[in-house]
Symmetry: C2
Subunit: 108 residues, 2 copies
DNA sequence: AAAATACTTGACCATTTGGTCAAGTGTTTC
DNA sequence: GAAACACTTGACCAAATGGTCAAGTATTTT
């Protein structure tokens, strides 16, 4: 599996996207990250592992607690991939407006 | 499953991303879309169904052939979601450069 | 030293995913 | 009307996903 597969896959889940969003407010522990979600710690841990495998989350152990933080790089790669379609959807909009212009020609 | 789940999930696969990319060049039939990939038509069809379920691909039957085209809307939603992190990674870069500035203070 | 905290690991389970093959349907083409 | 074409569907399979629970480890706290 390549990087984009892992990143898109990690983001294809509500729980994990919420975790990413939650991490925007800064570093937090595994338990803090898990707490808002209606599942066991073990369950949440699996999600965190998916995020780490995708490189979206980095962690560091201090004493008995593990602190997690966002790594924005994979998100940037997603951004880059999706950006390629900018031109496409702009041209789609152009096509649409051209179509509408054309439609209105016959009128009045 | 919500729209983002489906879209991110659909894009979490090399074959499907290649199909999306391929569709940039315009409308194409199921078989044309399937042909570049080392799998049976049935296999490719499953991927196309995933893309359709995510709303990334729309299709229309003309005679015995089915023509597929891209719908950019779900990509736009992905773009929107990821864009929220712009501010974050910019601030990360800021933090990094501040850190580097700080490091270099002790020198020379 | 015992207890509580903060994970971590492994076994298990149901469902989904990504692929196969074989047979079926509807539309051209000959 | 028969054959070829372009899908479509359904049965099957192995592996991955998303969850559970129970037991284990390492680090504080008391």
């Amino acid at each position: 599996m390549n990087a984009l597969d892992l990143t898109f896959g990690a983001l294809a889940d509500q729980t994990r996207r919420a975790m990413v969003q939650h991490l925007l407010s800064g570093e937090m522990t595994i338990s803090a990250l898990a707490e808002p979600h209606a599942m066991t710690l073990s369950g949440a841990l699996k999600h965190i592992r998916v995020l780490k495998k995708a490189g979206l989350v980095r962690s560091e152990k201090r004493g008995r607690t593990v602190w997690c933080r966002l790594d924005p790089e994979p998100l940037r790669q997603v951004m880059d991939w999706v950006s390629h379609y900018d031109a496409f959807w702009n041209s789609q909009l152009d096509a649409l407006s051209a179509h509408l212009m054309n439609e209105s020609e016959g009128q009045s």
